[in-house]
């Protein structure tokens, strides 16, 4: 009981941030709350929903990638597992979202243990490459698997009338608030996580694995746990993606580009910081969407987005490896 109370207190307590920053965050959050009333453009709302979704993805990645320092580049497979679970369960058995989502998350977490256990024998770049390889294989399997729609992908059946059980609404405002709730829960979870035992232990693992082990940390197991948490986060997002878009295929929910984008959000904003993934998503998602609408289909064709991502990675690596939040902290330290 004490433990739960302490955890809730930690989750709601942001007092270690300076007052000016806390005020800024509150203003931003109020804006998120009233956004659908202020802006009615469906394009802007779609961008905002995607921002919340990617912020959630990024927060999840931040556990293993940021705090744990293990550059996982296969997170899309967990988005996909959960999205496919939700879609298939609805198509085959008419099972509501609220039942299939937890099952999708569960399957993603289960898969993450099966992948994490062998993969965390590897370190550094070898681990990163292995995560890419595994997710590419899984994507290939799904693309060639007729049972789950193969190349054509899956369309979710329309229920006709708005339906909360199946998460089908006329207005995107509902989707927006659904994502906002999960974004908020994710944020509170991460605020607890960074102060938790596992949060501290992961930072020790990232700094030096031999020292971490000398402090009673089962290094491999700590990584596996964080990897599972990250997978649960992105799986929630994946389940949402399926009911929001009503259509999924491997290139929308399992593609390598999605995995890279998830990692990039957190790295650009600031890995191993609470606000990093949110800042990263706030920059990259609109950039991606508006670029897409300006130059249309040519974007993917030209590989322009990939070029931009590479430039961002190089800039972050060269200027401030701790991302934008790293710059904020430097400025804060200089002020005194």
């Amino acid at each position: 009981m004490e433990g739960i109370k302490g955890a809730i207190k930690d989750a709601l307590d942001f007092s270690d941030f300076p007052k000016s920053e806390r005020i800024g965050i509150i203003i931003f959050y109020i804006y998120l709350l009233i956004f659908p009333w202020v802006v009615s453009s469906s394009f802007a709302r779609a961008v905002m929903i995607q921002f919340l979704l990617f912020a959630l993805y990024g927060m999840g990645w931040n556990t293993i990638g940021g705090y744990g320092g293990q550059v996982a580049l296969g997170k899309a497979q967990y988005v996909g597992i959960s999205a496919y679970t939700v879609a298939m369960m609805m198509i085959l058995f008419n099972i509501p979202f609220w039942v299939s989502m937890p099952i999708g998350v569960f399957l993603a977490v289960l898969w993450s243990f099966m992948i994490g256990y062998p993969l965390f024998r590897l370190k550094g770049h070898y681990f990163a490459i292995a995560t890419i390889a595994v997710s590419l294989v899984l994507q290939d399997i799904f693309r060639n698997w007729e049972f789950v729609g193969g190349e054509r992908g899956l369309s979710l059946p329309f229920k006709g009338t708005p339906n909360f059980l199946y998460m089908q609404f006329k207005s995107d405002v509902y989707y927006y608030y659904f994502m906002l709730i999960f974004f908020t829960l994710g944020l509170f979870y991460m605020n607890w996580f960074r102060k938790s035992r596992l949060g501290y232990q992961l930072r020790a693992v990232k700094a030096n694995e031999d020292v971490a082990a000398s402090l009673g940390i089962n290094v491999r197991w700590a990584k596996i746990k964080a990897y599972a948490i990250a997978s649960a986060f992105v799986a929630v997002g994946g389940a949402f993606y399926a009911v929001y878009h009503m259509y999924i295929d491997t290139s929308s929910v399992m593609h390598l580009e999605l995995s890279i984008l998830i990692a990039l959000m957190a790295m650009l904003g600031g890995a191993a910081s609470l606000w990093g993934p949110i800042i990263g998503a706030a920059i990259l998602v609109p950039l991606d969407r508006y670029l897409g609408s300006w130059i249309g289909g040519a974007k993917g064709l030209l590989g322009l987005d990939l070029i931009i991502y590479s430039i961002i990675i190089m800039l972050v690596a060269a200027l401030e490896p701790r991302g934008i939040w790293g710059i904020v902290e430097k400025v804060r330290a200089k002020r005194g």
Binding site: E2, G3, G6, D10, K195, S196, R197, Y200, Q201, R203, A204, K206, A207, N208, D210, V211, A212, A213, S214, L215, G216, I217, N218, V219, A272, R322
Partner: protein, 245 residues
């Protein structure tokens, strides 16, 4: 009561026998020194006990329990803590946070880990630097942080690898006092590798001497210092110097 028993320990690396058939034991609440020239196999012995190396032969018992080949985190949870010859940085963590990580070995309660860290920080006189990073500190304080974070795991057996290396004579005196105080306050058993004779000969009840991977002597500091083979190996000269000066 024997806290540590090592039987016929052998550890080979390509071409080198770093530990060759080493047998010894340590009693509870003892301070035992481990000395020998560079490359004698001292750190390797620590690594075998703490689980960083798997011995090729031999057995290690801790409190009567066979811990041979256990992984490092498990030997730590069991009650063995060690420091590293080179103190590794804690990345983006502050000194206080690093010590808290040690505390998290025994509790998942952050407030408890924090309370214990504060206690250790005061004992180690690290209050002024607790919010700084390890890499920003002078060597003497880095060594203290290394001790502090390992202590936070509440060990029974505390193994120190060259904590006085790189310290000034007055810092060495402080370190000597600190180790004795740590032993008293937490009632620990201490196993200490040290090149600085003034320190190790001053606080150890017994000293074990390694040379070329072999245990060549064991006894009180005085016995060891007068042992022919030890003098031959390297010690006599240095110890004589310390006694004179």
């Amino acid at each position: 009561m024997k806290i540590l028993q090592v039987n016929n320990l052998v550890k080979r690396f390509e071409g080198v026998v770093a530990n060759n058939n080493i047998t010894f034991s340590i009693e509870e609440n003892e301070i035992v020194g481990l000395i020998g020239p560079n490359g004698a196999g001292k750190t390797t012995l620590f690594n075998c006990i703490a689980g960083y190396h798997k011995p090729d032969k031999g057995k290690i018992f801790f409190n009567g329990k066979d811990i041979t080949g256990w992984p490092p985190y498990q030997t730590n949870v069991e009650g063995i803590a060690r420091t590293f010859q080179v103190i590794e940085s804690g990345g983006d963590m502050s000194v206080k946070e690093e010590i808290m990580v040690g505390g998290f070995c025994r509790t998942s309660n952050r407030y408890l880990a924090m309370k214990e860290a504060v206690e250790i920080i005061e004992f180690m006189k690290l209050q002024d630097v607790q919010d700084m990073k390890l890499t920003e500190l002078p060597v003497a304080q880095q060594k203290r942080v290394g001790l502090a974070r390992a202590l936070a795991t509440k060990p029974q057996l505390f193994m120190l690898d060259e904590v006085a290396a790189g310290l000034t004579p007055s810092e060495i005196e402080e370190m000597k006092e600190l180790i004795v105080n740590i032993q008293k306050k937490w009632n620990l058993t201490i196993f200490i590798i040290e090149h600085v004779m003034q320190l190790v000969m001053g606080i150890s009840a017994r000293v074990i001497v390694l040379d070329g991977g072999v245990k060549i002597a064991e006894g009180t500091p005085d016995e060891v210092a007068h042992n022919e083979e030890v003098i031959k190996a390297y010690l006599g000269e240095r110890y004589a110097k310390v006694r004179k000066g």
